[in-house]
Every structure is written in structure tokens, then in C-alpha cells.
Symmetry: C2
DNA sequence: CTCCTCCCATAACATCTGTTACGGTAACAG
DNA sequence: CTGTTACCGTAACAGATGTTATGGGAGGAG
């Protein structure tokens, strides 16, 4: 065997290129050639690492989920209280800086690409389910005495609010600057009684 | 002049075909030929009514906004109280039936298509602004004594929650059935003090 | 009835897209 | 140093896509 060729690493790099194209040019320009150009290679390498375009997209989608999950777990582990963990994990889902804004654009792109694609749709549902379970668990740890239904409904509402804020924030950063998004999150958490009225900072 | 050819009507019909393709096949299959097939005509008519593909998309996007605005205004006019108006207008933004679910898919599709397209992005921002103003006005009419910032932050949070719920509901109806979405809306409105705790019905 | 206008289907065209096939070349074995 | 292996760049190919050009035919004007 020759020494080059770190297949997983190259797959990750190509997936990263997929994100870049998706974030900067949109799903309509998401072509094999555009990905290769973004990765600084040729279509030959792309097709050598993935059997076809869909496999490339599926891998990139999966990797996006892994990254998000990893980051959420780190934030959760570092948080000092359950409330802080809930807020931090939700906040990382919004478009508060260039990276998370790009991730939101990519996420919306994959959501749009999932229409009519059973595999991508399935991936979305699986990932969303684990996301729901995480937030539900965090809400429950903040309010252990709430009835189950109140916990889940609150968690679902928080998830929807965050996702909507991320989509708006990434598409119209002037109307939804980071401070506004954080105010939305804090106001919602406060309304549900999950933090004390006035809060700020990241 | 010959008698056939109702240009605006045909444009509307073609825009409707754009929605259908976008909802059923996704943005990646949104081609002139697919639109023509969905409209039951040939590409000749499509290119005869619109100078190019982008103009077709822009018109379909605009028309979607008009429809939504019209429906919101009707609901608002028919509502007996400000609270009812707020809830009804927000509820029609969620994926509660086949039509609104399809609209949500279409909306996400346009959002994804707006990446890297200044004109579509501008349209989104304009439409979203008028949507923000509508919800802000409704919140203010429910709670006229709230300070301005509280009104806007609450309105923004509601908007984001509804949009997120619609996206989730249309992509994973099993996990977010209509009853769940309505529970999310009612719980959020109740949390913000905009309706009395327990409510149901459309 | 005859022409004439203009609506739109048909088909052609250049370009782009996913995918496949081929071949050069770099790295290791001996 | 030479042969071998497999990585991957190059290029070809079929099909799809946006767009343009051509022509048939249906309705009004005279």
C-alpha cells in the first residue's frame, strides 16, 4: 500500500467542502465540480472517495450532526448548572457568529435537499429525535417536578424557537443580530420559567 | 389581439406549478420542464410568460407571500378578540394540514434557494419584515401596556417558534402532528401571558 | 372568405452535470 | 535501481438543463 490516502480524513475534508459550497453558493450550485474546487482537488478524488453524489451528501449531513452533538455535549459538560447547560446548548443552535450562521444555512440546505429523498429525510428525523431527547432531558433536569407533557411541550417549543431564530438570523443578520437572538432565547426561557427574568452574556 | 392569453392568470398558474414541484420533488428537481409538466403545458408557454427561470421563481415567491398575507388579514378580520387574532394568525403559519405543510416545505425551499441570490434574499427580508410588523402589532394590541422592547422580543420569539414548528411539522409529521404543534403554540402563548393557560380548538 | 396577428408547441443548441474509463506518477518492495 | 501497486488527475460520455429559434394554427379584422 502506498502511504498517502487517509480515507476518513479526506471524506471529512470533502464534507467540509460540501458545507462551504452549501453555505456560500446554495444548494443549486452544489455540484461535484464545485465541491472539488472548494476542496482544492479534482472530481476524480471526489468520485474516488464516494461512490456517487448522494453518498457524499449523506456523509456530509451525518458529519454535521456529529459535530453539533459533540459541541452540545461539551457545553453540557462544562456548564455549572442545569439551567446554564440548557441555555448554552440552545444558544449554540442559533446563528450567533459566522460559524453557527453558516451551519444554519447548511442545515436549511440539507432540509430542502431532503424533500423527496427518503434517506436524507430519515437522517433528519433521526438527528432531530436525538436533539429533542437532549433538550427534553435538559428541561427535565431543570424542572424535575413538571409533568412529563409539560416538559416535552416546553422542550419542543424551545427547539422550534431556536431553529427558527437560527434560520432568520442567518438569512437576515441585520434584522436578527446576535443580541436580538439572545434576547429572544432569554425571553422565551424566562417566559417558561426556566431562567430568572433578566439575563445576558453568552 | 386574439382573445386567449390571460397573462396574469397564467403566471399565477405557473407559480402554482412551481409550488407543487417544490413541495413534492424538492428544489433540486425544480426545472423548467418539471414546472411545465406540473402545469400541464410545455416549456414554450413557460418561457413565453417569463423571460427566464429566475423571474419565474421570483414571481412564485412573491405570490406565496401575497397568499399568506391575504389569509392572515382574513383571519385577523374575522377574529373576535385581539388574542384570538394573534393565535389564529400564528397558527396558520404552522404545518397543521396538507396545504399549510406543503406551504412550509415550499417556504423552506425558497429560503434555501435564496442563498447566494440577492434578489430572492431581498424578497425574503422584505416579506419577513412585514410579517414581523404584523405579529408585533397584534402582540401590542393584546398587551398595550408592555414596553416596546418586550413587545418586539415576544413577537420575534413567537415568529421563530412558529416557523421552526412549521419546518419540523412538515418534515416529520409523525413526530410533530397538528395537535403537538398546537400544544407548542398554546404553551408558548400561555408562557408569555398572551392567552389563559389551557386552550384548544383551531 | 381571406389575411393577419400572435399564442404557444416543437425542436434545436450550447452548456452543465453525474459518472465512467483511462493513464501518469509517486511510493514502497526487492 | 527496477517493478508493482494504487492514488487520483484528465478527459470522455450520455443525459439533463436553460434558453433560443422556428413554425403551425386558432381566432379576429376587413
Amino acid at each position: 500500500m502506498s502511504r498517502t490516502a487517509d480515507m476518513p480524513a479526506q471524506q471529512a475534508q470533502l464534507s467540509h467542502a460540501v458545507w462551504n459550497v452549501l453555505a456560500e453558493q446554495g444548494i443549486e450550485r452544489l455540484t461535484i465540480r464545485a465541491v472539488a474546487a472548494a476542496a482544492g482537488c479534482t472530481t476524480g478524488l471526489v468520485m474516488h472517495r464516494f461512490p456517487n453524489r448522494r453518498a457524499l451528501l449523506l456523509h456530509a449531513r451525518q458529519l454535521l450532526h456529529e459535530r453539533t452533538r459533540e459541541r452540545a455535549e461539551n457545553l453540557e459538560a462544562e456548564a455549572s448548572t442545569a439551567r446554564a447547560a440548557l441555555r448554552a446548548v440552545l444558544a449554540q443552535g442559533m446563528a450567533l457568529d459566522d460559524r453557527t450562521a453558516a451551519e444554519s444555512v447548511v442545515w436549511v440546505g440539507f432540509l430542502a435537499a431532503a424533500v423527496g429523498d427518503d434517506e436524507l429525510t430519515g437522517l433528519h428525523r433521526t438527528n432531530n429525535k436525538s436533539w429533542r431527547e437532549r433538550i427534553t432531558r435538559l428541561v427535565e433536569s431543570v424542572e424535575p417536578n413538571w409533568p412529563r407533557e409539560r416538559v416535552t411541550t416546553t422542550a419542543y417549543a424551545l427547539i422550534a424557537m431556536v431553529e427558527g431564530a437560527a434560520a432568520f438570523g442567518s438569512t437576515d443578520p441585520a434584522a436578527y443580530p446576535p443580541a436580538t437572538q439572545q434576547a429572544m432565547l432569554d425571553a422565551t426561557l424566562a417566559a417558561f420559567g426556566l431562567i430568572r427574568p433578566a439575563t445576558s452574556a453568552t
